[in-house]
Symmetry: none
Subunit: 216 residues, 4 copies
DNA sequence: GATGAATGAGCCTTCATTCAT
DNA sequence: GATGAATGAAGGCTCATTCAT
């Protein structure tokens, strides 16, 4: 679509390396979501991408590498998303916290396919060091920033609660809600998901968050 | 290992149907935890149990059924655990809530192997409706009871918060902490996990829970 | 049933060796007929006989031997049938020929199950010399007697046709009609089958057989 | 062997889809003939074709489909053979009958391997609807045409015999002779087989066939 | 005699990977 | 770059056979 650019021709035979790789990674995410990790085959990925079987190996060498790069892509996309949200947020810690929480439910990130793809890696990540890199990397920086914000908020309110635990409650609430969205047969909406996280934030920081989210 | 234990007798060659089935289900949990869902093979399950692979099919017919029964076993074990904890708890809603939260970190239930097995099922859940049966049924009852307790506590405190959302925050916090225990390279202790959940409970119900858990 | 004999008790635990073997051979014939040679398993034979799996090996040692004895049983049953018919026939060659042809359509011999069992052996026969022993021996005697009768009839009629070919036409007509009864979806009746063979006999020996069979 | 033939070139590594499929069907016929239905394995078929066993599934998906297509191929080959013979025959019914009978012993069709392959399907066809299609289709048209020819001959001779029975005698004689060629240890020659069928035809239609076959 | 748990060889099938075209 | 035929390792499953009870 986008890359058809100046010429109106359909389906160019030769596309740039990066374009093809992106295409295949998206197809991998789609396939993971629809069939789960165990039944994701290169043939299926290729079919989803509308490409030939052999091309996958041509661009990624092995299945292992395709999956690892897909995970790395998801992790980077996730990081870029909350980083950008934070950069755009006001300077007050409460505003920054709100930005991070909202970022996790950004419609561009929080799609059924992406949630399911994340989920399909969970079951395998524990036993595969290769995946743990991207996986852990996703969280470590996020945790550090979130703890900083919580510590600032607690300081503002002159409270002595453990910022590490408070930050953890917020983070696992987000993750748990994600898990709900993935695993429930008829999950609730993204708005309800965000409202649930705001309920948690309001309980932890009643001076800054209310039932409707950030107090202004 | 295990059977070498107290008695020096050799393992019996033939055991009753139920004994063997239980043995194989435990071996399946172990294998799922160590290798993940996708790399769990019947041969590996059999090796873990110290039995021949033909026996697995003899007792469970197909791999699909073995996994389904393993999940059903885990779900029932989980349900029995919190049900028993609830039955032993004092009658006050806060005591009942505390009992349910503590039950989820009962050392008999909250073992690395069981956590990892749960996780490996979650990863495939969305593509296998079969597993949603055991899993979904389990959760629905748990959710219903938890919501009842939260509603009672909110009523006691004359608060108008939505009990469904409050209960959900508690439940997903537990699940999120479980995910941490599973997926982190160097996870925190079970005690720290429980303390985190208590931090959440204290935020939601400050009249009944404090930093140390249930107020007495 | 029949072997319950003097006592009216149901299903005696211990039966004579020969009774059990007969029971299993009948179950083998039944199974061959219903599932074909390739899908005939010991488990299925045992289930058809209403006996336990292990008993088959106890009485026959191997599957190979069970099948070989089943074939030998069928061959002997077949031989006894036409031999008895011949013994009861009048002395004239035409009467003897008619007796042999009719014997092949004796309702006790020419049952769907037995026809199908024969057929399933034929399909494997060429690769299993074991079965050619029982089968070949059966046929050779039959062929020799049939040729004798044909030679006598040709001599009576002062004809110089080759008795070997004439006998062969009669024999393969019977076999071909048997094949029809087995392989057709809606086969004709046993009476029509016999009438077809009589049509052949009438063509070969018009002085002795007519449209209705043996002339009297 | 075969491909070493005239040209000294090595066998090509990659061939068109249809070429490989034909090659594998021939190998299946060969294997069925040598080992029988029950012991025909994909590994053996592949070895006979000089290919890897994975290729069989690549081209036919399942063993079941390979066997079904092999049977369909044989049925079509059979039909094409007698159809062509009939088209080349003179217009007189006796000539047409002779052409059909001779066609069944055409060296291209009536090879040991093909006879044995047919035979190996017989035992299974009765219990497998999948095979009955090709199987029944083979015969139905043949029977209809043969009956028409017999009816014409009987009309020519002003005889009132039942054309259905007469045609059936001829057909089952051919089939019975085929069965002899397959199942006997030292079968007679194809010429003797044809002579036997001619003996039958001479008995049924003495005005048109003699000991040597069609009267001219 | 009889039962059914246990074993392991061999089969069909899937699928990542290679490679000629 | 791209395609799809070809390979072979590995997994699930069947089943004849053995054997403790």
């Amino acid at each position: 679509m986008a890359e058809a650019g100046a010429k109106a021709e359909a389906a160019p035979r030769k596309l740039s390396r990066e374009t093809r790789r992106g295409q295949l990674i998206e197809a991998t995410i789609e396939t993971l979501a629809q069939r789960g990790y165990a039944r994701t085959t290169l043939t299926e990925v290729a079919r989803t991408a509308g490409l030939s079987h052999g091309l996958v190996n041509f661009h990624f060498e092995t299945k292992e590498k395709l999956l690892a790069e897909t995970l790395a892509f998801l992790a980077e996309e996730y990081r870029a998303n909350w980083t950008a949200a934070l950069a755009a947020a006001a300077d007050h810690p409460a505003a920054r916290l709100d930005a991070m929480l909202r970022a996790d439910f950004n419609p561009a990130i929080c799609t059924p396919a992406r949630l399911a793809a994340w989920c399909s890696f969970w079951g395998e990540a524990q036993s595969r060091p290769l995946y743990q890199e991207s996986y852990g990397a996703k969280d470590e920086e996020y945790i550090r920033v979130l703890e900083g914000i919580c510590a600032a908020l607690l300081a503002l309110d002159r409270r002595s609660d453990d910022p590490e635990r408070v930050a953890r409650v917020l983070r696992v609430t987000v993750e748990g809600v994600w898990l709900d969205l993935m695993s429930m047969r008829n999950p609730y909406s993204r708005e309800e998901a965000l409202a649930t996280v705001h309920t948690c934030a309001a309980a932890l920081f009643p001076a800054h968050f209310g039932a409707g989210g950030l107090r202004r």
